[in-house]
């Protein structure tokens, strides 16, 4: 069945058109976050971290330190996303004393997608649905005992249907 490849119709795939467009849109005035090291612990919205482009800058802005991969961080993500607008991603961990969990999508316009503060007594596990601009790596960061652990999976994303 030869599917003629044609530019997919603009209106239908608008949600993915965002990839080409990198616009620095200020997210409203929010007081500058305290020194990065405490960024995650305090109760302020990590404004600066959400504005960073790359994953590394976002992690630095959010936690002020780097993460090391650990198999104690179990990540559940689809191999091929059903649709780039609704990608179910979940993480659980056996690490103890977890204070924060974050999700980053490497090649989204802004890498940091979501960050969760885990108070004492809350189970260190989160499931949510994220938007992904294209096939890329999704990374989960767990802050436990002041150190950062991570897990990464590639999730394939592409348009569906025969184009129109």
């Amino acid at each position: 069945m030869n599917i003629t490849e044609s530019g997919f119709s603009a209106t239908r795939r608008l949600v993915l058109k965002g990839t080409g467009l990198v616009a620095l849109i200020g997210l409203g005035a929010v007081p500058l976050s305290v020194s990065p090291a405490l960024a995650a612990a305090n109760d302020k919205y990590p404004e600066d971290a959400f504005r960073q482009k790359s994953e590394a800058d976002a992690i630095k802005a959010l936690y002020g330190k780097t993460a090391e991969p650990s198999d104690k961080v179990k990540m559940d993500a689809p191999e091929i996303a059903e649709n780039g607008a609704v990608v179910p991603i979940a993480v659980t961990t056996t690490l103890s004393d977890v204070t924060s969990i974050s999700f980053l999508v490497a090649e989204n316009p802004n890498a940091l997608a979501a960050s969760y503060r885990i108070p004492q007594g809350t189970v260190p596990a989160v499931a949510n649905r994220l938007k992904m601009a294209k096939t890329t790596n999704v990374t989960c960061i767990v802050e436990a005992g002041g150190k950062l652990y991570s897990a990464t999976r590639e999730v394939k994303v592409t348009v569906g249907g025969c184009g129109g």
């Binding site: 091929i80 649709n83 609704v86 129109g164």
Partner: protein
């Protein structure tokens, strides 16, 4: 878009038919008698044999019964399905009376609860197929209210609620012994198998020849049970879609100009597709990629 392609396509089709012509004359078909019952048996047998591992009721989950990775994503979504808001809106709209005090419940048998599996039906007075969406708009007009668009959220919300009240009930489409009903059924079947659009696909090209295969990121659903989950919340539309919206978008995807929603062709198509899925449980409203 390569206009050249269209010419080659036309020529290719022309050449193809020359080859097929002799073949066609050899297997000239007697004017076959319209036999919906036999069609349904053959239709269901075809899919059951093509997917032996699937239980009959699995077919109503479309692409999610075709692929393990997709099935997992669906199960996760179903914990708190995205059509939840539309379903609640539909329930609220369904009970809200019209300006004249009447409400939808007065237009439908059994107050409209648990009857979705009987739609579409053939109205012998009018000699036409009546679908749930058409009946809802007729109810509105009969009570002095403006009809809803067939492809927008209000119609999707109403049909979502009515489908929800019929969940699990098997499709129960009847074809009365009326030549006009048989003809409507036959026209629906013809539409289903007719190639259209510049891509020259028919519904069958995708949903009979290659269900379970991918068309770019999407996995194609089998035609059996394909309407059981209607209306559907599609991640791709990030919104609700009625049967009408699904038919018209399928047309434009293969570069065929869509007809007007609820035209005869679409209602007959829905009549045929629902009939051959008789016995399959209603699973609407559904979530889809």
């Amino acid at each position: 878009m390569k206009p050249r392609f269209a010419i080659h396509l036309a020529l290719a089709m022309f050449a193809l038919s020359l080859v097929a012509m002799p073949l066609f004359t050899i297997t000239a078909r007697a004017a076959d008698k319209i036999d919906p019952e036999a069609d349904k048996k053959a239709f269901q047998k075809f899919f059951m044999e093509k997917f032996p591992k699937l239980k009959p009721e699995d077919f109503v989950n479309g692409p999610y019964s075709m692929n393990e990775d997709l099935h997992k994503q669906w199960e996760e979504k179903e914990q708190f399905p995205p059509y939840e808001f539309s379903l609640e809106a539909g329930k609220e709209m369904f009970s809200r009376p019209f300006k004249n005090g009447k409400s939808y419940a007065d237009c439908f048998p059994n107050q409209g609860i648990g009857i979705r599996q009987n739609y579409p039906y053939f109205d012998e007075k009018e000699g036409k197929v009546i679908t749930l969406e058409l009946a809802l708009n007729r109810c509105r007009e009969a009570n002095g209210e403006a009809p809803f668009s067939y492809v927008k959220d209000e119609m999707a919300a109403l049909t979502a609620y009515m489908a929800f009240t019929s969940r699990g009930k098997p499709f129960d489409i009847k074809i009365p012994n009326d030549p006009r009903a048989l003809e409507a059924y036959q026209k629906g079947k013809e539409y289903f198998y007719t190639r259209r659009g510049q891509l020259n696909f028919s519904c069958a090209t995708c949903h009979v020849q290659s269900p379970g295969e991918r068309i770019r990121a999407e996995v194609l659903a089998p035609a059996l049970g394909i309407l059981n989950a209607m209306p559907i919340y599609r991640s791709e539309w990030s919104g609700m879609g009625t049967t009408s919206r699904r038919f018209t978008t399928c047309n434009s995807q293969i570069r065929g100009v869509p007809l007007t929603p609820q035209d005869d062709e679409y209602r007959n198509l829905e009549y045929y597709l629902s009939y051959v899925s008789n016995g399959m449980p209603i699973s609407g409203p559904g979530a889809r990629p």
